[in-house]
């Protein structure tokens, strides 16, 4: 592998890593708060992409308006899921997991009759390519990097600098103690669901013009997001960032050097090695 090819694959790896970070953010937030793995994350990602298809491409609304519509709609959907699934089972982890799995299956199965059997596409929003350190990268991929960064910073500030964020952190540490201090656990949990779903919708909305749309499109991102949050540490936002970038670089550099299959294998070997030495992941901590 030449030095120039290494640089090229690293640039591609960073763009892939940014996509991975976006996918993992909502998932890690919900795990950190409620200790549940949101199996519906991939299906919500898919719905976010379809909102862009209908609102931006079919109805002609501006892209960023459609992007916000996707986040708001799916955020409200997340809140409703908390009200109708999570709250009735009193936050039970197992029943919530099973219910979210059922929700995923339902949304994917309903996707074909509702959205059609053929793949859909969304025309590029940011056309053209840029030469970055000798490698041509599409502008639409480059745009993801600042948007992902803005969402990460926004989420970080919300959690660490606002009263609602402090309530979230309090619930994460001890739900009962937080409730005794006057924190409305239901409202905060509902908000966490809404933010988690909105972030999944945001990544789907950003990916829509880059890839293609089909009701199963969320499966692979969900798998990647799981790998990232396990690697970075369950519930850790810095972990999701570092894990996403590392996985993006491994996927790109190893696939460029050795091929796609060794890259797939090596990403798992890498995670196993990390977990052997740090079972809680890079930034995780024992509960």
């Amino acid at each position: 592998m030449t030095a120039s090819l290494l640089v090229q694959s690293a640039v591609i790896g960073l763009s892939i890593g940014s996509i991975y970070i976006l996918m993992a953010l909502g998932l890690t937030l919900m795990f950190g708060m409620m200790h549940i793995i949101n199996f519906a994350h991939g299906a919500v990602y898919m719905l976010g992409a379809y909102v862009i298809y209908y609102v931006f491409f079919q109805s002609g609304a501006p892209y960023f308006v459609s992007f916000v519509v996707a986040m708001v709609l799916l955020g409200v959907f997340g809140y409703l899921v908390e009200r109708s699934i999570y709250r009735p089972v009193k936050g039970g982890i197992e029943p919530t997991l099973v219910a979210l799995l059922a929700l995923t299956t339902f949304l994917q199965a309903a996707g074909y009759p509702v959205f059609g059997q053929l793949d859909k596409h969304v025309p590029p929003v940011f056309e053209g390519t840029k030469n970055v350190l000798g490698v041509m990268v599409s502008v639409e991929r480059l745009v993801i990097i600042p948007i992902a960064a803005a969402l990460v910073v926004g989420l970080y500030l919300f959690i660490n600098k606002t009263k609602m964020g402090a309530a979230m952190r309090a619930i994460e540490q001890d739900k009962e103690a937080a409730a005794l201090q006057g924190v409305n656990v239901h409202v905060v949990n509902g908000l966490a669901f809404a933010i988690g779903f909105a972030l999944a919708a945001a990544s789907g909305a950003l990916m829509a013009p880059i890839f293609k749309l089909d009701p199963m499109m969320g499966e692979q991102p969900l798998l990647k997001a799981f790998i990232i949050i396990i690697l970075g540490g369950l519930g850790s936002i810095p972990g999701a960032i570092v894990g996403g970038l590392m996985l993006g670089l491994i996927d790109s550099i190893v696939a460029t050097a050795l091929g796609a299959e060794p890259a797939f294998l090596l990403s798992f070997v890498f995670i196993i090695l990390v977990l052997l030495f740090k079972p809680t992941g890079l930034f995780g901590y024992a509960q």
Partner: protein, 387 residues
């Protein structure tokens, strides 16, 4: 009324209700289809089902298929396997065991290969649209491959060699399964014999959306042309889009079959320009194909050019049943070995014994197109290298 009388009356009612129904069921020939009706390979599966139904509709409207002096209606029972092997096994099992189907058409090499044993054991006649090594073989005597395979379609490379001598380095990218492995093995062996250099040979998992790392590796080898044989339309669209973004200026070729309009929707019209493809023609269409286009559009509302070549299983089946004058799959198979029938491109028959060891591969003048101004334009019709 005594209980015994009630029982007799009940039996009589049941028998009376069964009688005509049983006779009606026996007058129907059920033809099973297991194909991807959703997901990335749906652009193949939907026209597969629709084309078969349309041909059968026409025969039914004329009173049905005459077998031994009796008229039979043709009925399609179709299931979606999503191009997932497990779903394919389940749908074929259902067709054979539950629906009692004796004749099937399956799309997808990996799915057909996974079902070889159950299909052979059940003595079911299979007219697949699938690429897989060993599919057309003496061990599958009732399997008649109804679409030109890589050993037939690679002949188009000879046409390219003669007309575009500047193309020297070939890169290939295909799905990482039976279909992809066999297709690429046949294609690379053939093009190397023609004097081309194989610059890169890559495989991807079905469902992959980010091809950038694989393409970066491929493009570092400076290919003149990229073959995407056996890849479904959705994947081909993404491969072309991303390869162009990475700066690839050469051509793409798919001598399997792909809907270039679906590809262009994803990749962008300009990026697909100049692509060569087998089995997908939008213009100019011969009169017979135009008539088919009109019928197809009337029934389904939207024209799909992939349906042209996917009529083969239905045409072959109907022709063989007419010749065999029997519903026994083995007798229909015997008839398929000798029947010559018309498909939408001309005369077709099953041959290829010299190559495969059994004459179970469809042979006809295969259409090849080049995308010009966004339209898949017919540039040649070639016959396979073996008869």
């Amino acid at each position: 009324m005594a209980p015994k009388t009630w029982t007799l009356l009940l039996v009589a009612v049941v028998l009376a209700s069964l009688g005509p129904g049983t006779a009606n069921a026996a007058d129907v020939i059920k033809f099973g289809i297991s194909t991807p009706l959703s997901g990335p390979a749906a652009p193949w599966g939907i026209p597969h089902k629709n084309a078969t139904e349309l041909i059968f509709d026409e025969i039914n409207s004329q009173g049905g298929l005459d077998v031994g002096g009796k008229k039979y209606k043709l009925e399609v029972i179709a299931y979606d396997h999503k191009y997932v092997i497990a779903e394919g096994v389940a749908t074929i099992n259902r067709l054979i065991s539950k629906d009692g189907v004796k004749y099937i058409s399956v799309l997808g090499g990996a799915v057909v290969k996974a079902n070889e044993e159950p299909v052979n054991e059940a003595g079911v006649l299979n007219l697949p649209l699938a690429y897989a090594e060993g599919l057309v073989s003496p061990k599958n005597p009732l399997t008649f491959h109804s679409f030109p395979s890589p050993p037939e379609t690679t002949v188009f490379w000879k046409w390219i060699k003669e007309r575009h001598p500047q193309i020297k380095r070939v890169a290939t990218i295909s799905p990482n399964d039976d279909t992809g492995w066999w297709s690429i093995k046949i294609e690379t062996t053939y093009v190397e014999k023609l004097g081309y250099q194989i610059a890169a040979k890559e495989f991807f998992e079905r469902g992959l959306t980010d091809f950038n790392p694989i393409l970066l590796r491929m493009l570092a080898q400076k290919p003149d042309i990229i073959s995407v044989m056996a890849s479904p339309a959705g994947s081909v669209g993404l491969i072309i889009k991303q390869a162009r973004e990475l700066g690839f200026k050469g051509r793409f070729i798919h001598v399997g079959q792909v809907d270039t309009s679906v590809v262009a929707n994803i990749a962008g019209k300009a990026n697909v320009e100049g692509m060569w493809v087998h089995g997908y023609v939008q213009s100019p269409l011969p009169e017979k194909v135009k008539a088919w286009q009109a019928k197809y559009t009337k029934k389904y509302g939207e024209w799909n050019a992939t349906s042209i070549d996917f009529t083969n299983p239905a045409f072959a089946f109907v022709a063989a049943v007419k010749k065999a004058q029997s519903l026994d799959p083995k007798k229909i198979a015997d008839a398929l070995h000798s029947v010559e029938f018309e498909n939408l491109w001309g005369k077709a028959h099953f041959g290829g014994k010299d190559f495969y060891g059994i004459a179970n591969q469809i042979i006809y003048p295969m259409p090849f197109s080049e995308v010009k101004d966004g339209v898949a334009t017919l540039v040649a019709q070639l016959t396979p290298p073996h008869n």
